[in-house]
Each structure stands twice: as structure tokens, then as C-alpha cells.
């Protein structure tokens, strides 16, 4: 025990003596949370659009007024012809180009149907899909309005079934409520994985491990000495990040914080075990760094934070079963937004515990005091 105490003391001394460390611990979470949460907002506002109205009728003007009134769209000008509209897209002056053909009103009145063309800049696929669906929404509601007026049908008959949407657990569909738990998960994962992966390798690089290996200190003691300080830092990061999320973004805390932190405390063993495992077979900090990056990027992109897991192909969905970050995000969101209880989360606890045991065994086996 005395040995362990000194090992921990030594690690903390070294961590806080490292000048780069404090900024990493305090600045990183603030920057990540604040910047990413605001920046990675998928709600589209101010979609820029241009119009070429070849009809110039009363009806086409009414439709355009609907677009102008929408908070999602921002009018960037009326085009004199088709080519001007296309070049506005080319030159990124607008994301959406609405083309109303000549005889639009006429066709609508005579043929009972007319066409409008929408061109969307699809460089960003997600933004394009959203722009398109917002625009379709406006056009659809306009067309039922027209139909109702011209045919004189009562309102109830135009749309026999009306869909009323309610986003459960996140009623305002507030994007930040989804993002903050996700970014918190990334944050503790990155901090934990990088710090632990680099640390043992650093001792290899500067040669101190050679001296340590000759001492009677046990493998397990040594690894606990490496793991515990980063575990404490990661738990602190979690609390710190959650506080920022609560104070700045007002994210709801519907579930038990004890439950949440218990889960994170097991989760961190997975991440730190993985880091120590990496540093067991890496010879230089550079190797460890690349490996840690490789793992983190895959974990993050496949975590369901940026693309829903349900949208992934089948094989990729199966891969997420071994992605601890996906589990953490799920649990954080469930506990914070949904107020899930331990009874509802017990399987998550079992899974992450199995994960932790596996990683720790790998880490202990991967570290050899002799070659």
C-alpha cells in the first residue's frame, strides 16, 4: 500500500509538473464543449436561395412569399434566367435554386398540376437533404392551400390524416441536449486514451522503465499507479464538463448523477486499459499517438454521434457493438435526458464491466518486465 501511495504521488507530481498538462485538463473541455456544441448544430437556418420566376403570376408570387416568410430560408435574389440561377449555385451564392416554369399558374388551373424545379447544392449531403425537405414542406402546404381555395373544399378534407409530431425526451428537439452528452463522451475518451497510451511509452523512451523493471515492484502495482491518476483526472473532467453543460447549455439532468458517475467510472477502466495496452506494444510516443488516434477516430465516427447508428449498413452496425464510446453516449443520453434508472441500465453495466475486465487483462498481459 505504501508503495502504491508513492507511485501515485510520483505520477501526480509528474503530471502537474508537466506544463502542457493543466491547459489540456482545463481548456480542452471548455473549448470542445462550447465550440463543438455551437458549431456542430444540425438545425439548418438561413438556407440561401435564388429564384427564377418565369411565370411571374400571382400564384408564383404567393409561393415565393411563403419562402420569404420562412425562418429557414434567406432570399438572395431574383434571377433573370435559368443560367444565372445555375451560376449562383456554382459560385456558392446560394444553396438552393428554385425555378418556376412559365405557364405555372396556367397549368395549375387547367391541368390541376404543375411543376417546380429545385436545385440543391449537395456538397454537404446532410444539409442538402434538410434544405430539400424544408422546401418541400413549404411547397406541399402551399399546394394544399391552393387546392382548398380553388376547389372550395373544407379544410378537414384536404388532409384527412394529420401528423402531429412530439419528440419525446427532448421536446424541443434541442440539438445541444443531444450534443453535450456526446461531446462529454468524446472528451473523457480522448483524455483517458491519450494520457494513458503516452505515459508508459514515455518511460520507455526516456529509459526509466529499465530501472523500474529491475525493481521488485509488481506489474499490477505499476499499472495501477499508471491507471489511477488518469482515472481521477477523467472523472474530474466528466464532472467539470457536465457542470459546463449544465451552466452554459442548460442540459437537463433527469436521472441520477450517482448512476451516471458509476457508469463512467467503469467506462474509464475500459479506455485506460486500452491506453495501457497500446503503450505495452508501442515503442515510441509517436507510435502510441498514431494508434490512439486511429482507435479514437473510428470510435468517434462510429459512435452514432454524427450519424445515427441506424443509418449505417448492417456490418457497420455490428461493429458498433464493440465500440465503448457508442455505449457511453447511449447511457449518458438516457440518464441525462430520459432519467433512466439502474434497473433499465443494468445490461449496459454488465456489458461495460465485461469490456473493462477484458481490457485490463490485456493491459496487464501486454506489459512485460522482461523481454
Amino acid at each position: 500500500m505504501r508503495t502504491l501511495k508513492f507511485l501515485l504521488q510520483k505520477e501526480f507530481l509528474q503530471i502537474f509538473r508537466n506544463k502542457a498538462m493543466l491547459p489540456i485538463i482545463f481548456v480542452l473541455p471548455i473549448v470542445q464543449l462550447v465550440v463543438l456544441t455551437f458549431a456542430a448544430d444540425f438545425e439548418l437556418k438561413n438556407i440561401t436561395y435564388v429564384v427564377y420566376d418565369a411565370d411571374k403570376s400571382q400564384t408564383s408570387e404567393r409561393l415565393m412569399n411563403q419562402f420569404a416568410a420562412s425562418p429557414f430560408f434567406k432570399f438572395k435574389g431574383a434571377m433573370a434566367n435559368f443560367n444565372d440561377g445555375m451560376s449562383a449555385l456554382d459560385e456558392n451564392q446560394a444553396t438552393l435554386f428554385i425555378r418556376i416554369p412559365p405557364r405555372f399558374e396556367h397549368d395549375l388551373a387547367k391541368e390541376k398540376s404543375a411543376q417546380i424545379m429545385l436545385d440543391v447544392n449537395s456538397i454537404d449531403g446532410q444539409a442538402a437533404t434538410l434544405s430539400f425537405s424544408y422546401a418541400s414542406g413549404i411547397i406541399n402546404s402551399f399546394s394544399s392551400e391552393i387546392r382548398q381555395e380553388w376547389n372550395g373544399l373544407p379544410e378537414q378534407l384536404t388532409m384527412p390524416i394529420q401528423v402531429e409530431k412530439r419528440y419525446w425526451f427532448n421536446p424541443e428537439m434541442a440539438y445541444k441536449n443531444l450534443m453535450v452528452p456526446g461531446i462529454l463522451a468524446l472528451l473523457v475518451t480522448m483524455i483517458g486514451l491519450f494520457l494513458s497510451a503516452m505515459n508508459v511509452v514515455r518511460e520507455k523512451e526516456i529509459g526509466t522503465i529499465e530501472q523500474i523493471n529491475v525493481t521488485p515492484i509488481s506489474k499490477v502495482h505499476f499499472l495501477i499507479g499508471k491507471l489511477l491518476p488518469f482515472w481521477v483526472i477523467a472523472m474530474f473532467e466528466m464532472a467539470f464538463g457536465l457542470t459546463i453543460g449544465y451552466l452554459i447549455f442548460n442540459i437537463p439532468v433527469n436521472g441520477s448523477l450517482i448512476l451516471l458517475f458509476s457508469y463512467v467510472s467503469i467506462y474509464m477502466l475500459v479506455v485506460l486499459g486500452m491506453g495501457l495496452w497500446i503503450s505495452g506494444f508501442a515503442d515510441t510516443q509517436q507510435q502510441a499517438m498514431f494508434l490512439a488516434w486511429f482507435v479514437t477516430v473510428i470510435f468517434i465516427l462510429m459512435s452514432g454521434l454524427f450519424t445515427p447508428i441506424e443509418n449505417m449498413p448492417d456490418w457497420a452496425q455490428k461493429l458498433t457493438y464493440v465500440n465503448p464510446v457508442a455505449y457511453l453516449i447511449k447511457v449518458l443520453r438516457s440518464v441525462l435526458l430520459k432519467g433512466s434508472t439502474f434497473a433499465q441500465m443494468q445490461w449496459e453495466f454488465v456489458k461495460i464491466s465485461l469490456f473493462a475486465v477484458t481490457m485490463l487483462i490485456l493491459a496487464v498481459r501486454g506489459y512485460r518486465k522482461r523481454n
Binding site: T3, E210, Q211
Partner: protein, 308 residues
């Protein structure tokens, strides 16, 4: 105290140590002398349980270093060739740390390190990384001694250290020896070899000879001539062209010639003058360890090529 039995170790294709056997007695100051890459560190790392030999075994106080590695780790003090203390910890913190992982305290074994550590105490709060070479070495030695080891293993401890600190260091080793510590030390410096009780000359993973420094020198069977006052390179060429004087090696501003047949300085002078060198000075010399090493090395190489 320490016995190496038929140790072999290869790193891939490269045979680092070939069939090495030797033993070190209790309280002995034993030197492994050889150039870089001779296999000195490999042998020490096998002894200190951080490296496994391919074959052969090492006994430490009668205990096998593989089976009883725990015993060895508790009783050996190891100072690796590369400075391997925590540079971001202070002198005192380093010493305290190593004392703790050996389950002891600085006070408990202060007697053993007192002489060395006293010189460091004024710098107790300085980071190890900010110490001078000689001071680093003293700190490393203190850390290796803090648990009162039975055997001290020092891998090239004086490498890259100035002459004064080197001398001080060897004085420290002598006083440790007087306190009963068995010491194994490796060094590429031949002048340090003479300070050991016994030495093993090692080259390309093979032991060339083991003896007391005096015994090694006495075994030198050839006649040594020292050539001076000549331009080294042309003189070497002139000597090497003559089969009788072909074993000629430069030692700084001098050339040492190991001869079997020639017995007079004048004969060497003749060879040099025939080679166009003016006024060479030749005298009969007493061989030192380095001469013995060079001679043994050449013979070893000849044998090796004869086998091949």
C-alpha cells in the same frame, strides 16, 4: 556470487553473446572490458532479469535469475547505461521514490550512500534533468544502492563523464567494495580496467580472456615497441607492409608494434626508415591492458577467419 554458464543471446540474425561463462566472487570488483557492441549490456541485462537468454543460465548467490527473479530484483542494484531516473523529479524525490519501491527508506540505508549522497544534498531540490553529468551519475548510483543490494551492476557508468568525475567515481566504487558490496562494472575505457580486481575482456560477444589486470598483462607474450616522432599514417603503412611488424596500432600520437620475431628497437627503426620515414624514435615498452586487448582481439579474429 554471480555465475554465468554458457550464455547465448541473439537479436534476430545478430549474435550478441556467444557461449559466455564466467563467475564473480563475493566482494569482488569485476570489470567487463570491451568496445561498444561487444555484448556487455546484454550480459548485464540478462543478469538483472530484464532480458531472457536464449540458452545457458545465470546464478545469483546460488539462485537462478529466471526462476528466482524476485530474489534478484530485491538484491541487485542496477545502473543502466542510459541515465534512467526521472528527469522531472528532484534529487530527493528520485531517491525517495526508489527507496519506496524497494520497501525501504533513505534513513534506513543512509550509511551506505552517505559519502556519495552528501555531495548531492546541496542540490536536493534540483530536478534530476538539470544536474551535470557527474552529479547525475552520483544520483543514479545512490538510487541503485538505496536498498543495500548484495550485488551492484553498473553498465558503462563513466561513459560521457569528465576525467575528474571518473576518478571520483572509481574512488566511490573502491569504498563500496570495502563495505562488502560485490560490483560488476562494464567500461569501454581500458585505463579503468586496471582498477578492477579481475577483468573479462570481451569482444563480439565472446570472452577473450579473464584474469586479474596484472595477470592479463603478464600473459602478453610478444615484444612491445613504441614508435614515436613519426607521421602516423605513413608509418603504419610502412609497418603493416612488413610481415614481421604487421601488428601495429596507433595509440594517440604513438604507434604500438607487437612483434614475435623482432627483438630489437633498431630492427623496427630499419623498417620505418626503409619506408621513407625520417628519424623515428623506437623504444621497448611495457604492455598495458589495451595492448593485451588489441593483441587478443587480432588473434581472435584470425582464429575466427581460420574457422570460417
Amino acid at each position: 556470487m554471480v555465475e554465468f554458464h554458457n550464455i547465448n543471446k541473439s537479436y534476430g540474425e545478430n549474435e550478441a553473446v556467444k557461449d559466455v561463462s564466467f563467475s564473480v566472487g563475493e566482494g569482488e570488483l569485476f570489470g567487463l572490458i570491451g568496445p561498444d557492441g561487444a555484448g556487455k549490456s546484454t550480459l548485464f541485462r540478462i543478469l538483472t532479469t530484464v532480458l531472457l537468454a536464449d540458452s545457458g543460465n545465470v546464478l545469483f548467490n546460488g539462485k537462478d535469475v529466471v526462476a528466482d527473479y524476485k530474489y534478484i530484483r530485491e538484491n541487485v542494484g542496477y545502473m543502466p547505461g542510459k541515465f534512467s531516473l526521472y528527469q522531472d523529479l528532484s534529487v530527493t524525490e528520485n531517491l525517495k521514490f526508489f527507496a519506496t519501491i524497494f520497501n525501504t527508506t533513505i534513513d534506513e540505508n543512509y550509511e551506505l550512500i552517505k559519502d556519495i549522497y552528501q555531495q548531492l544534498e546541496p542540490f536536493g531540490n534540483r530536478k534530476a534533468g538539470a544536474l551535470s553529468g557527474g552529479m547525475k551519475q552520483k544520483l543514479a548510483l545512490s538510487c541503485a544502492l538505496i536498498h543495500k543490494p548484495k550485488v551492484l551492476v553498473l553498465d558503462e557508468p563513466t561513459f560521457g563523464v569528465d576525467a575528474v568525475s571518473r576518478k571520483e567515481f572509481w574512488d566511490m566504487l573502491k569504498s563500496l567494495k570495502a563495505k562488502g558490496v560485490t560490483i560488476l562494472v562494464s567500461t569501454p575505457y581500458m585505463d579503468e580496467a586496471e582498477l578492477c580486481d579481475r577483468i573479462a575482456l570481451i569482444q563480439k560477444g565472446r570472452i577473450l580472456d579473464i584474469n586479474t589486470p596484472k595477470g592479463i598483462v603478464e600473459q602478453f607474450e610478444r615484444q612491445l615497441f613504441i614508435v614515436s616522432n613519426v607521421a602516423i599514417y605513413p608509418a603504419l603503412q610502412a609497418l603493416e607492409n612488413n610481415p614481421a611488424t604487421q601488428n601495429a596500432y596507433s595509440f594517440g600520437q604513438e604507434i604500438h608494434v607487437y612483434a614475435d620475431e623482432i627483438t630489437s628497437a633498431n630492427a623496427i627503426k630499419q623498417v620505418l626508415e626503409n619506408g621513407g620515414l625520417k628519424n623515428p624514435e623506437v623504444s621497448v615498452g611495457t604492455p598495458n591492458i589495451e595492448d593485451c586487448f588489441m593483441d587478443l582481439m587480432v588473434r581472435g579474429n584470425l582464429e575466427e577467419s581460420a574457422h570460417a
